[in-house]
Structure formats: C-alpha cells, structure tokens
C-alpha cells in the first residue's frame, strides 16, 4: 500500500516538475486601472464617447511558473472595483482569470494568452417611473444577478523597474473568433513580487 501511495505521489511530482528549472518562480499582488471598451460607448447626448483613460480601479493576484530558460507561464486573477451610483440598487462587477505564456528578456516580460472575463450585473428589483411617449410608466428593475462569460485573448508587456515591483500594460480582446461584438479593453497595473513564497531560500530573480 505504501508503495502504491509513493508511486502515485511520485507521478504527481513528475508531472509538475518534468525538467530542470521548472516550478513556481513568483507570486505577486497588484493594483491598477481597467479601461473598458475605450472610445466605443456614448457618454452624453452630443455623441461624445468614453475616453481611452477611463480608469476603474482593480486588484490582481497571480503566480509565475518557470517553464524553460526564459519562458514561463502566468496564471492571474483580477477584480475590478464594483460600481453603482445612478441607481444604487444596481451593481456591476467585472472579474477575470488569465493564463498566458511569457518570454523574459532582461527586465521585460512579453505575454500572450487567453482568459475568461466575467461581467456580473445585479439588482434587487423594484420599479422606476420613466417617461414613455407622452406619459410616464413604471418600468421593472432587474431582480436577480446575471453573469456574462467571455473568452478573451490577451497581449501584455511588463517592465521591472525595481527588483520587487513591475508595471504592466495588457490588452484584452473580446470575440476574436467573430466579426461582431469585437472590442478591446486594457489594464495598466503595478505589481509587488514576493518571489517563490514557498521557498524562503529563493531570491528575487530580476534586477
């Protein structure tokens, strides 16, 4: 029995570390701004659209996994600060999971990947009295939470300006496979890198 357990565990370890140098390289936390659909959304009655620097705060957490020499893989989660305001009964929240491959060149990291982007819209119901033709009508408000799920393609560039900190610009492209509903959003972020938090002997690898 002990031998079987040892074999299973050895197989798991083997799957995770099949080559020299592979393994967890870095964990990081970050903050930044998320700009959604820049230039594509009308923001007033004279036709102005949202700017390319509409900043929504977001936080991120991720890990870097060493693959081979200068190549690594990233898994990252981000959460955009929930918004509400025109009607406080409605809340919108965006969050995403990204998986990317990356090439490290000196203090630069070039990333290409894919991910899942979630848009959550919720409200507690009720009605809203609004103009309707020449009268007013009570329009129902949403009374549930709905989550939209998109596959996105990501392209990013990251620069380590300090051995523990980096700045990143990353684009999120929606509906690459379709000719409709295409859109680009992007993030600007700063991250703090902890290195391999499970190996205290590991050193910060950049700078």
């Amino acid at each position: 029995m002990k031998l079987i357990i040892k074999l299973i565990c050895s197989a798991i370890i083997l799957c995770c570390t099949t080559a020299h140098g592979m393994g967890l390289k870095d964990t990081y936390l970050g903050i930044g701004s998320y700009t959604s659909l820049p230039g594509k959304v009308q923001t007033d009655d004279s036709g102005d659209t949202n700017g390319i620097f509409d900043l929504e705060p977001y936080i991120l957490a991720g890990i870097e996994y060493q693959l081979y020499q200068d190549w690594s893989a990233f898994a990252e989660a981000g959460l955009v600060k929930p918004g509400s305001g025109r009607d406080p009964r409605i809340t919108k929240m965006n969050y995403f999971l990204l998986f990317s491959g990356a090439y490290n060149y000196m203090d630069w990291v070039f990333k290409l990947g894919a991910g899942l982007f979630y848009t959550r819209i919720s409200s507690e119901g009720g009605t809203q009295s609004l103009n309707n033709g020449t009268t007013t009508t009570d329009f129902p408000m949403p009374d549930a939470a709905v989550v939209s799920q998109n596959i996105i393609t990501t392209l990013g560039i990251e620069y380590y300006f300090h051995k523990e900190m980096s700045a990143k610009l990353e684009g999120h492209y929606f509906n690459l496979e379709s000719s409709e509903g295409n859109a680009l959003s992007y993030t600007l972020s700063v991250s703090y890198h902890f290195g391999n938090i499970f190996d205290s002997s590991s050193r910060k690898n950049r700078k």
Partner: protein
C-alpha cells in the same frame, strides 16, 4: 512594499462610474439570433419597407450587435406581406398601467415591424408625436417568442421628418424594446425615451441592459439567462483565486511525505 501600499490606497479612493438598468418585461428570446421582418404596408413614412429593412440592418450593426458581453445578434430578415389588421387594429386591448396585447396581432416568432394607421386607439391626435409602439406580444413564461413594432403611420407622423441616421436610431430603440429592454433614465442611452442631438453608439446603460438579458456564455451556453446564486459565485471565485496557492502547498506536503517515507 510601502510604495505598493500607497498606490493601493490611491486606487481604492478613485471614483468608479455607475449605471442603471431597466426592463419592460423580465423576459428575453431563447435564441441568440433574432430575425427582424418588415411588413409591406407603410404608406406615409416617406421611406419604403425595403429601406426600413436596410435601417434594421444598419441599426443592428451600429448598436446592438456591437456588445461584446451579449450573445444577442439581430438579423434583418425580409419584407413580408401581413394581414390588414396589423395596420388597422389597436395594439393593446387595454392600456391601464400595462399593455394587454391584442391577440389578433400576435407575432408567431422573432420581430415584426409594421406600420399602423389606427388614429383612434394607437395614435390619436394627442399622440401624433409618438413614433412607434413596441411590445413583445407573444411571451411564454420568461421567454419572448415574438414581438411587434408598430410605427406611427398617420399622415402627419413625425417619423417622416427625421434624417436617415435618426430613423436608424429610432428603429434600433424600438428593437431594444422588442428584445425586452425598457427605457433608460439617462440621455447617453439609446433607450432614453426621446431622441437626442447625436446618437452614434450605445451607452453603458444599453450595454448593461442587453448583457443582463442576453449574457454571453463562452465557451458554451445553454441559451437562457444564467441567474446565479451570488454567494456560491463569490465562493467559487475565491476558490479559483486561491487554488494555485493550495496546489503548491499540496505539492510541498507531498514532497515532504515522500522525503520522510524514503
């Protein structure tokens, strides 16, 4: 680390934008592609039915089909012949608070745009400036099966005075009602109750509304509104966030176990 914490505090103090959303009915089409047909019964609009169909195509491409987080795609169908009652009969049997649809005008599937010249019930002189009446008039549970857009075809209608771009946005607005959206309280929204000086694209309220009714479900979807248990969704997200840490801790434990076993 101190710099990082300062940046975090700055980020969290920034203002986030807001939005609102409303629906005339809490219902939506089951299918992602909704076809819009146009009846060949217009006489006073100053544009032909085929031109209206062309506007449907333009309105879908300029507005509703641009939303990345929505699965809804509107398609221009064809010019169709319909019974004369679509031109003459009232849209609602009663209109006290909400419209009780006239069952004679039930649309079997998708969306039908018709002209309507009923100046007694639908578009009396006091309603001359009303551009159209739209109602999903074939609903099964929370699923819209068919919807009717009735354009005011009075001889003195105001639709005919609009520019083509305005006509496109009017039709796109009515199609918003047809797919289940109500009015918006904000002027930057296509679903605002009246025309605004310039309408080039959707507002956040429109985008959020159509996303709410027709959420994208990539890579797979079952074609219905995915209402979620918010507590479980939050827990699932937290678990996904923590899963890499759990994975590496498990690896470390397994390695220790193997080391001690040997």
């Amino acid at each position: 680390m101190k710099t990082f914490l300062t940046l975090l505090a700055l980020a969290l103090s920034m203002k986030s934008y807001a939005f609102s959303l409303n629906n005339t009915v809490s219902a939506s089409y089951a299918q992602s592609e909704v076809t819009v047909n146009v009846a060949d019964n217009c006489t006073n609009l100053g544009v032909s039915s085929s031109e209206i169909l062309s506007m449907v195509n333009d309105g879908a491409a300029q507005f509703w089909n641009t939303v990345p987080t929505s699965r809804l795609r509107l398609r221009a169908g064809s010019v169709v012949s319909v019974d004369s009652k679509f031109y003459t009969e009232k849209i609602c049997n009663s209109n006290s608070g909400s419209c009780e649809p006239n069952t004679n005008l039930t649309v079997g599937s998708n969306v039908l745009i018709t002209c309507n010249g009923n100046t007694t019930d639908n578009f009396p002189a006091s309603q001359r400036t009303v551009l159209a009446i739209t109602i999903p008039n074939n609903i099964s549970g929370t699923t819209i099966v068919g919807a009717l857009v009735a354009i005011n075809d009075r001889s003195d209608n105001v639709f005919q005075d609009k520019s083509r771009a305005q006509m496109v946005s009017i039709i796109a607005h009515e199609l918003g009602h047809a797919v289940g959206l109500g009015h918006s309280p904000v002027t930057d929204s296509l679903m605002y109750y009246t025309l605004v000086p310039v309408r080039d694209s959707l507002g956040w309220d429109d985008i959020d509304g159509v996303t709410y009714l027709y959420p994208k479900e990539q890579p797979i979807g079952c074609g219905t509104i995915s209402q979620v248990d918010t507590k479980s969704a939050g827990l699932a997200f937290l678990l996904i966030l923590l899963s890499p840490l759990v994975w590496f801790q498990l690896r470390k434990l397994v390695a220790r176990f193997l080391h001690s076993a040997s």
